[in-house]
Amino acid sequence: MRTFCVDDLAKFLIEPVLMNQLTLKQWEELILIFRESKLLASVYHLLIKNDDFESKHNYVKRHLRSAFVHADRQRRQVIYECGAINALLCKINVSPIYLKGANYILRGSCNSLGRIVSDIDLLVPKTELDKVEALLKNNLWKSEVISDYDEKYYREWAHEIPPLIHILRDTVLDVHHNLYLPISGRALDISLFESGAIVVGEQYSVLNSADSVLHSIIHLFMNEDFTNSFRDLFDLSLLITEYGNDEFWDRLSFIASQSGYEKEVYYCLKISNQLFQLPKPLIYEGLEVRFKSIFTDFFINSIISRAITPKHTLLDTFTIRLARFYIFIRGHCLKMPPHILISHLIIKSFKASVEAIIGKHYFDKD
């Protein structure tokens, strides 16, 4: 009998006062779940904002506070790194656009509070990619050790180069030239996003708020890996709440239509409304007319609503795992044409089988 389900978690996040009713045993489980979902520090901030932190038991405070300290250290590190990267790339006249976690931290959005950011993602023009990679590698950034196959995946099919790691600081850098894989056939006209970029903190280029939301929507609904999906959807509902004015919705409609991702916007608004009670905006009606069907209802109500559950043994059920598997297959199909997908899955599943039998580090390069 599971103590919590994904709806409970969402309720706690939108109404933190509900957590006042929890027993310490329940907190023990919730701390594990929120930590695994990368939301523990966010919960700290929600309680602080509500003036509800100090009244909690020491046991709860210690774990929440530790999560906050860790996330805050990361936040400062991200800001520092982005400054250093800007200074470096400025030498070749490249002004990178920061994406995802780095974007939120640099612009100081509500969802950046307590957000765990493990990598720094940035976007540079494809024409500058080689120069950028060379300059970074000449300045203490090195390629992560990956298999030859994965290297080929990144360079030929994906919208990014293999991750770079800073030799001294261990920071991971993902350099993108598009917001989605070219091989999928659904890559975006990146010039639209570049021209809409804004400057925050006096020196950092980031996507504007509507484009940031669209990028996050694409990243969520086109992905084969839903590990961080609950956190990502919570991000989206916070971003939409913070930035959702008329100008925002106009821009989002425009850019989603130009990029061919309106259906995904519909998915996002529908599930956010169901899970996080995010009010449906004016554009929802038009999207619903176009995209509501038995299939999309099934997809949202039976697949997404389950797969979005954070991956944790305290939450998992058979149907949730099945939904996640569906997403896994779907995500791969979306990313690659069939002939490439088949060989990709064969290679990946071969590796996984060997590792299951012989051990997880069998393929580690020494």
Binding site: R73, R76, Q77, I79, Y80
Partner: protein
């Protein structure tokens, strides 16, 4: 070189009471730096050290480590340049 610097607003500095040197914490990059007093152990340098050390801890005063830590000109330049490039100190503006 007589370039003047101040501590960056987010830098914290601690002077070691035994005169062995100073420690800086960079609020921007989260790093700590340990700089030795080259004449540690020397009686008269200790007196001078304690005299000047107090002023070092105030972020609005000029950051001058050459005489306090008894560094050569070359060493002082190297240290100051490194601290500047790593955002521990910034140029002093009047």
């Amino acid at each position: 070189m007589n370039a003047s610097y101040v501590l960056h607003a987010q830098t914290k500095l601690r002077v070691m009471q035994d005169g062995s040197g100073i420690v800086l914490f960079g609020g921007l990059n989260g790093r700590s730096v340990f700089i030795q007093n080259r004449l540690f152990g020397n009686e008269s340098s200790f007196e001078k050290f304690t005299e000047l050390a107090d002023s070092l801890e105030h972020s609005d005063s000029k950051f001058q480590i050459q005489s306090i830590l008894n560094l050569s000109e070359d060493e002082a330049l190297k240290v100051e340049t490194w601290l500047l490039n790593n955002d521990f100190i910034s140029a002093y503006s009047h």
